[in-house]
């Protein structure tokens, strides 16, 4: 999960490394993920979200589809 100056730089990195281009995430979306995942990490209540919770969290900020589903088997052959 890397920062890039622009989408063109993502394209350059994917081409150079021979990897498929995957979803782009805005800084606003990233901040929402950071708060949801880590906002209570220093408390007794903190825990990692379960798979269904993860799908819900991603979906609520517009990150939808099998790429964001930890239970998806679509990627098994590309591991």
């Amino acid at each position: 999960m890397l920062f890039f100056r622009s989408e063109e730089h993502v394209d350059g990195w994917c081409k150079l490394n021979g990897v498929p281009k995957r979803p782009l995430v805005s800084l606003g979306q990233l901040w929402q993920l950071a708060v949801t995942w880590y906002g209570n990490r220093l408390t007794t209540e903190s825990r990692r979200p379960g798979p269904d919770e993860m799908v819900k969290i991603f979906s609520e900020i517009g990150l939808k589809g099998p790429f964001w589903d930890p239970k998806s088997d679509q990627w098994a052959s590309s591991a």
């Binding site: 920062f3 805005s26 990233l30 995942w37 679509q74 990627w75 591991a79």
Partner: protein, 147 residues
């Protein structure tokens, strides 16, 4: 509070205060336990995907997300303390976990030029930069260090 939660909170309290990732001996001294018991807790916390241990070194923590146990390209400064994050998400995650304004220095994954971010009043200042997630969620823990 159960033992594993005590261990986890001690880890996070120490890294937040000192910026340094504690080893099992530090946690054992911190909570008045044995290194062996703490290292068993480390393993259980790893199995819950809350810690990543250094390969072959059960006393050492590589990641207590969002914090990194080693220096990385993602440097987060909060109130003159410098922390290192595991990835872009975790760079923002440190500011979110500590609930403080933060200055984040990182680099473009493509051209390696410096990129700077500021978290102010619980949100990032606007920038046109983007984040690329190269690995699907179903594969994040197949190689979490790469992810």
């Amino acid at each position: 509070m159960d033992f594993d939660t005590s261990v986890k909170l001690n880890i996070y309290e120490m890294i937040a205060r000192t910026t340094r990732m504690p080893a099992s001996i530090d946690v054992a001294l911190g909570i008045g336990s044995s290194m062996a018991d703490v290292e068993q807790a480390f393993q259980r916390l790893y199995e819950k995907r809350l810690l990543v241990l250094e390969p072959g070194a059960p006393s050492r923590i590589r990641m207590a997300p969002p914090f990194s146990g080693i220096e990385t390209q993602h440097r987060v400064t909060i109130e003159e303390k410098v922390y290192f994050a595991n990835c872009a998400w975790d760079a923002f995650g440190i500011a979110a976990a500590l609930k403080r304004d933060a200055d984040i220095e990182s680099t473009c994954g493509d051209c390696d030029e410096p990129l700077a971010f500021k978290i102010r009043d619980e949100k990032p200042l606007p920038q046109d930069y983007v984040v690329h997630f190269a690995v699907p969620a179903a594969q994040w823990w197949q190689d979490i260090i790469y992810t």
